[in-house]
């Protein structure tokens, strides 16, 4: 590991993999709605009719966008642009 460029690339690769792993875990968590664990999300959240399952969908979409924003911000902070 004498090449500093390689170290930099490996650091960036690790970050890519971490973000992707978080994304994929969250993405496939949605499948839990179709298992018995999903029953916990079937009921309404708060005082209204909005179910936990629908809230989960909305939160996932917003979280994915948030993750991308964070990823871009980290890249920018390191002066990559």
């Amino acid at each position: 590991m004498s090449d500093p460029r390689l170290e930099k690339v490996q650091r960036k690769t690790r970050r890519r993999l971490v973000f992707t792993a978080i994304h994929l875990v969250l993405y496939f968590t949605f499948t839990l709605n179709w298992t018995h664990l999903g029953e916990a999300l079937a009921g309404p959240v708060g005082g209204g009719l909005l179910s936990g399952a629908i809230v989960m969908f909305i939160v996932l979409v917003l979280t994915f966008i948030g993750l991308e924003f964070l990823f871009l911000a980290l890249d920018k902070r390191q002066g990559e642009s």
């Binding site: 690339v9 992707t20 994304h23 994929l24 839990l32 709605n33 969908f57 966008i65 991308e68």
Partner: protein, 548 residues
């Protein structure tokens, strides 16, 4: 409409739903030609005139094969993100997911999340590296460290197979959709789509295609936003009141607010998720868009903006879907006397536009749906033409030293051939059940192109022999399992039970392709295999830092 007829309608819709063909882009099943919709036709003509003017301007800038393939690399990240969204937010997404929500409520969101889930991964893993390594197509990327001729041949043929299958599904879907929306005969619809796409692509190349996709994305996002506002206005801008009415109207009651109305097997859900996410990441016409921007930063921004647009779109569809349940069920205006929804479930989005916005909004959304098909087919045509003229002719036949005029000429000839082929295939497959054809490109992309792309960028051990063995395994396994699955074995061949239970086999075929690629590469002791491994270091540095 009584409960009995509603049940019949729901069972028919579920039969379509199990095909899950919406996700991959087809409008399936028998359709009835509707009355001519003159408002929609006028609005569509306005769209066509505008886009042809843009094509005319773009044609002057498209003077070389390079500008044809990547619009000169001058598209900004924002523009490209809008174009990617315009390419991917198909009529299937808008009409299909809304129709599925009307029938099954929450369960339709698996298709929304599946369609959305790929974009963050595209940004995290691929946008920068693909942009840095390729010039015009994803095949450029995978051929960087492997034996160029062999891998180009396999990857380009894979691209052409995916594009042709996707094209068939789109053309058959387009013909049926336009029958529904505009009241035009099927053959006319297919011919119009092909003629317009030929005009855009043959003369304006990627630049015209990009602008068609951007305009379509703006119109679609504007249209769904207006629809959502009008729907919410009917309920005093209260989401709770909207859901309350939806639950009261739907025969399944509050079951539509959670999982289980349409799907009850988590494995089935996972097969859809895997196919949609990894299939999207392997679609050549989507990856090709990353080369239209000037640098890696803009490539990442493209993926980010595409996510923003699509995330917004699928959130708004939530309101439109539940709005359609609340406002259409129980409204006799949208049902035939025997209780069937007029035009079938693919017309739900158009009916809800009519319910909240009258003829003008109906015409507008119909025109947008037509524009949507043009944008998708245009993207596919550019990608197919580039696979033929760039990947096969310029890089394999001419070993990277083609005559540029001859290459551009061949590109335009390829566009015409694809256009004519699209019409012929569209007409040939009119009466066929195309659900399996719509599924194939996504499964093949997940099992053939995606594994090669991922491992060529992230695994030093990949060799040409392993890549080719895995790609062929993924291809054969995809075709075999789709044939043995419900869509061909039962729906097309008429057997009682499928030999393989799932419509989307990528959950099984993709890991198999990965396993064969990895095993084939590890056991590859050839001289070429050693060169492939040694090439990785330079490729890695170049892909991340843009230097060698």
């Amino acid at each position: 409409m009584n409960l009995c007829t509603l049940k019949i309608m729901l069972s028919a819709a579920f039969a379509l739903l199990t095909n899950a063909s919406w996700a991959a882009g087809s409008i399936d099943g028998e359709v009835t030609q509707q009355a001519v919709n003159s408002t929609a036709i006028i609005m569509f003509i306005v769209f066509v005139v505008l886009t042809l003017l843009i094509t005319w301007r773009a044609a002057r800038a498209t003077t070389s094969s390079a500008s044809f393939y990547n619009a000169g690399g001058k598209i900004t990240g924002l523009q490209n993100g809008a174009a990617i969204a315009g390419d991917f937010m198909s009529a299937a997404s808008f009409l299909g997911i809304t129709g599925l929500m009307f029938v099954a409520g929450f369960d339709a969101l698996i298709l929304s999340l599946g369609a959305f889930g790929a974009w963050p991964v595209l940004m995290f893993m691929f946008a920068k590296r693909v942009r840095n390594l390729g010039s015009y197509t994803f095949v450029d990327v995978v051929s960087q460290r492997l034996d160029k001729d062999r891998i180009r041949l396999v990857a380009a043929l894979g691209t052409i197979a995916v594009v042709v299958l996707y094209l068939i599904a789109q053309m058959v879907g387009a013909g049926k959709l336009i029958q529904l929306l505009f009241g035009l005969p099927y053959e006319y619809a297919v011919a119009i789509v092909s003629a317009l796409v030929l005009a855009y692509v043959a003369f304006g190349g990627m630049l015209a295609t990009t602008w068609v996709q951007i305009i379509k994305a703006i119109l679609l996002l504007g249209g769904v936003t207006l629809m959502a506002i009008l729907i919410l206005a009917k309920f005093g801008f209260s989401v709770d009141a909207l859901l309350q009415e939806a639950v009261a109207q739907h025969p399944k009651g509050d079951a539509i607010l959670s999982a289980g109305v349409a799907f009850n097997d988590p494995i089935q859900v996972a097969t859809i998720q895997v196919s949609m996410l990894f299939g999207t990441l392997g679609l050549p016409h989507i990856l090709m868009r990353l080369f239209t921007v000037p640098n890696m930063r803009q490539a990442k921004l493209s993926a980010f903006y595409a996510s923003l647009f699509m995330g917004y779109f699928y959130l708004v569809l939530l309101i439109i879907g539940f709005g359609s349940i609340a406002l259409l069920y129980g409204n006799a205006e949208f049902f035939t006397t025997d209780g069937q929804l007029i035009g079938g479930t693919n017309m739900v989005a158009i009916h809800i536009a009519s319910a909240v916005g009258g003829d003008v909004l109906t015409g507008f959304m119909s025109a947008v749906s037509f524009a949507t098909i043009l944008a998708v087919v245009a993207g596919l045509t550019v990608s197919g033409a580039a696979a033929i003229s760039h990947d096969l002719y310029a890089e394999v036949l001419k070993q990277g030293k083609p005559d540029s005029k001859a290459e551009l000429r061949l590109t335009r000839i390829a566009v015409f051939v694809i256009g004519i082929m699209a019409v012929l295939l569209g007409i040939a497959f009119e009466k066929e059940n195309v659900a399996f054809i719509a599924v194939m490109p996504m499964v093949m992309a997940a099992s053939v192109t995606f594994p090669i792309l991922l491992l060529s960028l992230f695994w030093s051990g990949l060799t040409t022999r392993g890549a080719i063995a895995g790609a062929l395994t993924g291809l054969v396994a995809s075709v075999v399992l789709i044939v043995l699955g419900p869509q061909v074995w039962v729906s097309v061949l008429g057997n009682a039970e499928p030999l393989f239970p799932y419509n989307y086999p990528a959950l099984f075929t993709m890991p198999l392709a990965f396993a064969v690629i990895i095993a084939g590469s590890i056991f590859d002791r050839s001289e070429r295999g050693e060169i492939d491994r040694q090439n990785y270091h330079d490729l890695l540095i170049r892909s991340e830092l843009g230097e060698t």
